[in-house]
Amino acid sequence: MFKKYLALLRQSLAALFEYRANMLIWMLINVMPLVMLAVWFSMSEGGPIAGYTQSDFVSYYLLLALVQQMTTVWVIYELDYEIRHGDLSIKLLHPLNPLHDYLATNLADKILRPFALIPLALLAWMIFPTIHYDIAPLNVILFVVALAGAWFIRFIAQYIFGLLAFWVSDSMTLNDIWYGLSQMLGGMIAPLTLFPSNVTAIANWLPFRFMLSFPVEIASGRLTRADLAMGIAAMLFWVGVGIVVYRWVWRRGIRRFSAFGA
């Protein structure tokens, strides 16, 4: 199994490396965190907002941008195309569940990204020397765990929406709504604590937080031990939900797909 994954990865890496210029452009295109940073930066000029100074906002949004880059998923476009054009039938003939093929492609991209991200991160650090994170070893480990969790939840959610193409012609719209909600309640518009407290309370338990904001919250060092524990537990819960729902949808979807005698 592991060897098959390595083979898939190597294939994907080679293919992706061809498009490295494109990849760089796609990465630079993601300016939303910078726009939001500009907003909060200008607002906090006169003083901290809800415990966030200008430097705090810079630290938050720069890391958020990095987390966003390291968790990007586009599998729904691939799936949608392949289901509609019947290409999925070819993948179904392979001994591995097509999910692994898509996973490997995405993972390969994540392996290549740090090469572009690290120079950008260093550049950001030079421009904003006051950015700060909690880099205690345990915290760094938790950050990486949360990052992996974020990637997985984003991936499996998009994959599930992609599989809905077996039934509806407009799974992309549903995914767009999901995306919109995750940008709002996942910490893009503002750090979650800046929402009204009852909204924050709800948002803390929704999956969106664990798709983007949670790793950044961990790195900021603002979470208490209890917060951390509850957060990790909630994240694992949503990872589990993702796997269960995916399995359920896949089984039903594949039955329906085969029924069309592709």
Binding site: I25, W26, I29, N30, V31, M32, A38, M43, L194, F195
Partner: protein, 261 residues
């Protein structure tokens, strides 16, 4: 005259083929409303913590948000399906058919298609503008409205010319196919008043990739606080860019080596 008749034919065709997919039409309009609501909520969150954003008050910021949506509609309805599609046509080899038509190639490449449902963004944007003006208890004078429309037209021409030049450039560098995406990235920065940006960033967004002309300045015009100099520069820039882009386009298609020789 013939060109006007052609336009009518083009647009009737686009509209008819779109209405065939009524459910999709409604779903699309719904998504536009969703994203506008999203933008309004984002501004609401900002204003939980402040009274002014970049010196603009809540209803004034809403106007910029509205313009962002409105102009997105303009881009998606008129620009993307035409100028934005030229590169795909070049790659497919179908661009030759455009060049073979007995009318001006730029005319066809620029105005052939219209994605009607995208105009819903224009309607929604206008709706939000009206709401924002109501909140300000402001009724714009005819002069301000005229200036607003002028600024909007100037913005459209500026963006159109910029895209046309980028497309013309891509005749030589065919791999530059995500240039429109690059533009959208800059466009994102126009979501909120350009005054939130400081120093170098604001200069870039005003003079290099003129996003300020697209969302912030028309809003200023409607609010009656645009500097006449700025308005003049807008029009001059639009005219200048149009002429340059037209020249460059003609130059590019002259040197275009078609798919079949």
């Amino acid at each position: 005259m013939r060109y006007l008749r052609l336009l009518r034919v083009f647009y009737k065709y686009s509209l008819v083929s779109e209405l065939e997919y009524r459910v999709e039409f409604l779903a699309n309009v719904f998504m536009n409303v969703f994203w506008l609501a999203w933008a309004v909520v984002s501004v609401a969150v900002f204003f939980l913590h402040t009274d002014k954003l970049g010196d603009w008050t809540w209803p004034e910021v809403l106007m910029v948000v509205a313009l962002f949506t409105l102009f997105s509609g303009v881009m998606e309805a008129f620009l993307r399906p035409n100028v934005g599609a030229v590169l795909d046509q070049v790659r497919d080899g179908t661009f030759d058919f455009v060049l073979l038509k007995p009318v001006n190639a730029q005319f066809i490449a620029s105005l052939r298609n219209i994605v009607v449902w995208r105009l819903s963004d224009v309607v929604i944007g206008l709706g939000l503008i009206v709401y924002a003006l109501a909140q300000l208890h402001d009724v714009p004078t005819p002069g301000q409205i005229a200036l607003f429309v002028l600024m909007l037209l100037a913005a459209t021409v500026i963006v159109y010319a910029t895209w046309l030049m980028m497309v013309s450039l891509s005749f030589w560098f065919v791999k530059l196919d995500n240039f429109t995406e690059l533009f959208y990235a800059f466009y994102e920065a126009g979501r909120y008043p350009v005054t939130i940006y400081r120093g170098l960033v604001r200069i870039v967004l005003t003079f290099v990739v003129p996003i300020a002309f697209v969302t912030t300045f028309p809003a200023s015009a409607l609010l009656g606080r645009i500097d006449p100099m700025t308005a003049l520069v807008s029009v001059a820039l639009a005219t200048g860019l149009f002429v340059i882009s037209n020249r460059f386009w003609n130059f590019a298609i002259q040197h275009y080596s078609s798919a079949s020789s």
